[in-house]
Symmetry: C2
Subunit: 346 residues, 2 copies
């Protein structure tokens, strides 16, 4: 049974502080059109794709800040962004889009949605759980801030896996499954979304694959040259970029392998405003942890691969057959305590 | 404050089915002496170090099987093995040793102990939690078995981190700590043991580092050329070995990084009985996920590095500051369900 789908990471290069959302959405549509031409079925756009990565700035005016957020109940109806969803539907391409969300009660979330072209609507929403950074800006005016904990609340939707319809032609359906039939790995693909820093937290991947996820998708804004400002080290730019790329790739490969799932990562990258550098490295990784496609540039670029979701079965049925091998009675600290409790001094 | 310690993985090459434990222990002592000469303070020996990796054989006679296990209450008094502990104490070198343990009630465990030279005794014991393989042998008489689930029970001691005394000269002690002093990262090193397959399970690493672990240590017996027999694939020998080494290294590097801890891995490797191949690749990995020392051979070899445990602080206080970033309310599936529960078919 074929479970092959054609997927892409749509990497997006520099977006300056003064860029208009309309212009940026036009760049996304261009990538979408390229995907459609290449018969890609699913495109993953980065984290907070619609503007520059504003948490690096300490923005004190609520009005200024609000500009970076989408405010409506339904992102597909957001005036500046609607053309992207319309094009996705018209071309029959599913998309994952990351954006800053402001709810009616004023709460900010770092959000991504899965838009199903065949359904013509958003079928899953995820809000970033692992917010990095700080609430307060640095005192040093030259330091690059990371104020996600100031502008966003941790996601309140958990890690909810979902099935994406319309991608695998002969997927088993409730209406056609025989009574008692084991349809595991035969239905519509099971997916989950992460955002940026979430990828460094194995708990997030595990919760998704405990629901059978075969494909995890995430965008990121990850400092390269600038990481020495965030991190307090003083690595030369090339080394700082190399290090950030190494860690990003390492956690994607290892977590894909340890969870026997494919993953697609999509970078907001390049040099924003001529001075804030973000790494590229968008990639598609197999359940064996191998990179099957990766970005070659540090700008707008579509990274395409055909992946066969049935390749997940091998890991899920052998080395990572959770039912046979996991021992939850030994894991209780993971959900019992948030921080570290060290053994007593001797 | 110096938190530097000198550590080593003592990789052990081929051990045939008919090798005597006495001879094997002499090989371990030779590695220990080399460590002592090099002023190494802690040596990590592999998993089930004392015999060939017997779970690859279907052994039906209890008497034959018992030969591969240690039976006493105290491994340091086990006649064949006592000389190793005596030498460790005499030379002031701590050791981690993996062995097959038979308890008085007849239960088998895949066990490792931490022997503290300064204390002159075992100060921590770990029993492997994630047993790979099967209970029943393969029907194909040419297939290489992996019968750990037959010969061992899953470990019943959990993942209990411990402090190892005597390694860091100026470690804070209960008696000298000031009232209210934050001694995190200043006491004796906090450690934990894993065994082989455990290293592929991020839950195991996390439970240890939720207790502040700075150094995780594990031995392994991992099929290389033979993995095509275990796994049902038919990779050529070189590719099979390369793949096994890739996965072993990948999970060690990523989990060390995501847990901001050092790790030492020690392989039982080489070609047992001229036909059962096990990978080498023993290594010492930093909290940034970098390999700081690694084996060059596929035989008996000491892999040495001086590591500074204070390097863990950077990760533990920033990217992986659990108290600030973990969101346990979203992790509940990890301890609520062992196996996979897929979303319903649409």
């Amino acid at each position: 049974m074929s479970r092959k789908i054609s997927v892409a990471a749509a990497q997006v290069g520099a977006i300056n502080l003064n860029a208009s959302k309309k212009e940026t959405v036009q760049r996304l549509i261009k990538l979408l059109h390229e995907a459609a031409e290449k018969k890609v079925q699913l495109v993953v756009f980065p984290e907070c794709t619609l503007t520059t990565f504003f948490p690096r700035h300490f923005i004190q005016s609520q009005e200024d800040l609000d500009h970076y957020f989408e405010h409506g109940e339904d992102i597909t109806q957001s005036a500046d962004v609607k053309p992207l969803f319309d094009e996705a539907k018209a071309h029959g391409v599913d998309i994952v889009l990351g954006y800053a969300e402001r709810t009616p009660d004023g709460t900010g979330y770092n959000t991504s949605v899965y838009f199903s072209a065949s359904q013509g609507k958003v079928i899953s929403k995820y809000r970033k759980v692992h917010l990095p950074g700080r609430v307060e800006p640095f005192e040093d005016p030259n330091a690059t801030n990371q104020l996600e904990k100031r502008y966003f609340k941790p996601g309140d939707l958990g890690f909810k896996a979902f099935r994406a319809p319309g991608l695998v032609p002969d997927a088993a359906k409730k209406s056609t499954a025989k009574e008692g039939e084991n349809t595991a790995g035969k239905g519509d693909p099971i997916m989950g979304m992460l955002i940026c820093n979430d990828r460094r937290w194995p708990e997030a991947w595990r919760v998704y694959t405990l629901q059978g996820a075969e494909l995890l998708m995430f965008g990121y804004n990850t400092g390269g040259h600038m990481s020495h400002l965030w991190g307090g080290t003083s690595l030369p730019p090339e080394q700082a970029e190399k290090k950030a790329l190494f860690h990003s790739r390492l956690v994607q490969q290892a977590n894909s392998y340890m969870n026997a799932c494919f993953s697609i990562s999509s970078a907001r990258c390049g040099m924003d405003d001529g001075k804030y550098h973000l790494i590229g490295g968008s990639s598609i990784v197999s359940p064996e942890g191998h990179v099957v496609a990766e970005a070659r540039t540090n700008g707008d670029e579509l990274v395409v691969a055909e992946i066969d979701l049935s390749e997940c079965r091998r890991g899920k049925e052998r080395t990572f057959d959770y039912a046979r091998h996991r021992r939850i009675e030994t894991y209780s600290l993971i959900t019992q305590q948030t921080g570290v409790v060290e053994p007593e001094l001797l």
